[in-house]
Point group: C2
Chain length 346, copies 2
């Protein structure tokens, strides 16, 4: 059985390059979205505590089972820990045997960015070249690279309430080739752009974008509002926008649309990808991808990672699965291995 | 973060001895059952396919979160694979960080046997010395060792429909010190015993024990009937017995009592352990532990294993969790590690 650690994901990025991986991941997610009906989907499991939440996101098709473990602990940042950390398991549906355990913190940032850019490829105006990013935390640079790689975004206007986050972003992106303007307000950042990405970390209902900031024709990629009680957009924006979601039952609880009535109209993105529902219909439509992160995206990421890490340098073999000669003889296997270990010759 | 592999569990058994581990595990389960109300319990998640089932069993108290991944694939045996294989994760509720990933196939056999013996310690007649085991598969020897260690069982009467399974059991137990009689029928096996353990693997409604075989005063440890459509006992036995379960909502679906009406009376075992409900009331009561395996037992096992494997020889350190210097600078961490690896000097 395979263990894919942080160092192995980094080695894969070194081997293929970040942009190529984001493109390949988006392609894999798109393929999986096209066979939406083949997945056994269920809401995530969540264990809440006063400190945060631990979630399990299981999903399966007829060949593979995937599950991501992920937490959300806002107070971690003050302790020097990640607010969100994750790992995943991929298993063989035919035998029930796990195939791989893999880091899913980096991979979640990658799949989220790939998913955002994939949605924008289907929803933003053709020829979009400028994007605003509001919120310059852990995910922001991955979003920038994905939109450059998948859509050809060449200019960014960026804003964060914390100047240190802005400084970090600018340093990280200095060799990106993107033209980047840091602004003093969110309103300045969104002026005249084709796409707005909101990816703030604040765990409450905030108004990162207000209605007057959003001109016609914009595509909004709303990434940060992703759990109950956490939203980024003024409700009036949603009223003007055509709203696209991953999996409606989940987004009703976790997304921006938790602010709206239960019958507020939304379209599941897979229908647009499959040509079963229209995406953007007019150049001046406001399109909104109300992204919360769905288990299929993690499945795609785990599945991609499994296929990409067969090389011995890209994983470690681990011994989590007993292999008795006779499946019914677990005890005999144990007994035989209990014989004292041979002493090492001096 | 810690990985506890098969070899590490075997090393732990070598270090402490199987009987001691079973006693310690039973004590840990008993402690956890005594604080039943502190656990955030939920039904298991199950992904069914034509080949079998993949399950997740999450549970948490205010300090630790545990989850077991376990499958059930009857056709695996013919492929030389385990029908049931498992691994688990233990995490820190305060930070949401996983602490340990561990093998849980051997550990499940151990915790099931410890749980069975613990229940019998509370329900069987005092002074019980003889036990029948019906079904001599992968779990049978662990049951035998646990009942010897925890109850002082000294005589076994054993039966399996497959003579090869019986032969395997007798070989494995030859140095156990137990007096063992293999019988030609299940009826012969249960004659005159104090305790009957049924632990067959057949995935259907079978009648391993019929009513006429069960005399008064017996304690029945029914382990094998543990999923929908899989039972071992004739319903008439349940009518005569006082039935004890782990977690009633789960056992109604998975246990022997799936044969009975929804209002068939049962007692949750933790109430007996806590002194809140009577266990055995008369020497001639038939007591029945309708065991299906509950998440607390896996939590106890994972928690025990975590505490027992701090020694470097009993685990492997793995690198599943990113550690950027600044939690928000995931991208910078990745970029810095992408620098070309230094060439090895010739």
């Amino acid at each position: 059985m395979r263990l894919v650690e942080v160092e192995h994901v980094i080695a894969l990025v070194r081997q293929r390059g970040l942009a190529r991986i984001l493109v390949e991941l988006a392609d894999r997610i798109e393929e999986d979205y096209l066979r939406w009906g083949e997945f056994d989907k269920s809401p995530r499991y969540a264990a809440h505590s006063p400190h945060g939440v631990i979630e399990l996101m299981p999903i399966a098709d007829c060949e593979r089972f995937g599950c991501k473990y992920v937490n959300g602990h806002p107070a971690n940042q003050a302790k020097g820990l990640q607010t969100v950390i994750g790992f995943g398991v991929l298993a063989d549906v035919g035998t029930g045997y796990p195939l791989m355990i893999a880091e899913m913190t980096l991979m979640t940032a990658l799949r989220t960015a790939a998913m955002s850019a994939l949605a924008a490829r289907h929803l933003a105006r053709p020829g979009a070249r400028t994007m605003a990013i509001i919120g310059l935390g852990a995910q922001s640079e991955f979003q920038a690279v994905a939109f450059e790689a998948l859509l050809g975004i060449s200019e960014l206007r960026v804003f964060d309430v914390d100047p240190a986050a802005t400084a970090k972003f600018l340093v990280n992106m200095r060799d990106s080739g993107l033209h980047i303007v840091a602004t003093d307000t969110a309103g300045e950042a969104v002026e005249g752009v084709d796409i707005v990405t909101t990816v703030t970390a604040d765990k409450r209902s905030a108004t990162v974008l207000s209605d007057n900031m959003i001109g016609s024709g914009i595509h909004i990629n709303a990434v940060g509002g992703d759990c109950p009680g956490k939203t980024e957009l003024q409700a009036a924006i949603l009223d003007r926008a055509r709203v696209f979601v991953e999996f409606e039952p989940q987004t009703r609880i976790e997304g921006e649309i938790q602010q709206m009535s239960a019958d507020f109209p939304v379209t599941e993105l897979w229908q647009v990808i499959a040509g079963e529902a229209p995406g953007r219909q007019h150049a001046d439509d406001i399109t909104l991808f109300d992204s919360v992160g769905f288990a299929i995206e993690d499945f795609s990421a785990l599945s991609y990672l499994f296929d990409a890490t067969t090389d011995a340098a890209l994983h470690r073999e681990i011994d989590l699965l007993v292999r008795p000669a006779d499946p019914r003889d677990l005890y005999g296997m144990l007994q035989r291995q209990l014989e004292p270990e041979p002493a090492i010759a001096a």
